[in-house]
Amino acid sequence: MTTSGLKIAQGRSGAVCVVTLTGRIDNSNAKDVIAELDALIGSGEKNILLDLAGVLYLTSAAFRALLVATDQAERNEARLALCSVTGHVRDLFEMGGLLDSFTILGSRDEALARLS
């Protein structure tokens, strides 16, 4: 865990670039999420999966980051999907009215099966 409370790790499964977020995503570090996704999309990644299993909570700054990145992915003909959106994190997506605004694909395994 970094001092900002958020760890961003990157891996690969076949054609899918998996970004694992661990910790809290808030107004102090959402810019790091935007920067990471911006760089990946800019480098030509076409299949990006964001795994939120380790996210303790997120705030509106995270939603803003994810909406901006999803728009950017679309402009670059890339796919950005989310997985492991459960429990309290899922409740927050629902409160934000955003469950239908993203591609949310169940567990990581289910998501990889769908994207591969």
């Binding site: 809290r24 102090s28 909570y57 997120l58 939603f63 409160m95 009215g97 955003l98």
Partner: protein
Amino acid sequence: MLRSIELTVRNDLADLPAIHDAWERFGAEQQVPASVVVDLQVVLDEVASNIIKYAWPEGGSHNFMIRLAVCDGAVEVEVIDDGRPYDPREAPAPVQAAPGSRPPPGGRGIHLVRQLVDRFDYERTGAENRVRLTKRFA
């Protein structure tokens, strides 16, 4: 018995993690349920970041105060700043997406706060904005 802590925060987003750490520690000490600690982390992030970003449009270095108190099965949060008058309860509801498209990125913070607390009060006293939030857990 009322127990409380007071935090002085600069108008700098880099101060947000210190708020989160202080509340996590205090909430645990006071045996506030973990889910309530998390809900208020979201609330504190939204309210404090709004103040940091918008209370002093002229810029410069400013401080504001957050008081957190646990009493009788409830957490009381008071946030006091001397920025421009602003009642966050008047924040408009987020713009809904047109069918088949995504909503605009911003404007969801206060919408979340409304859903995460039981009371959301505001008053302007003298040159200060005072936001009071109550979250019950027992």
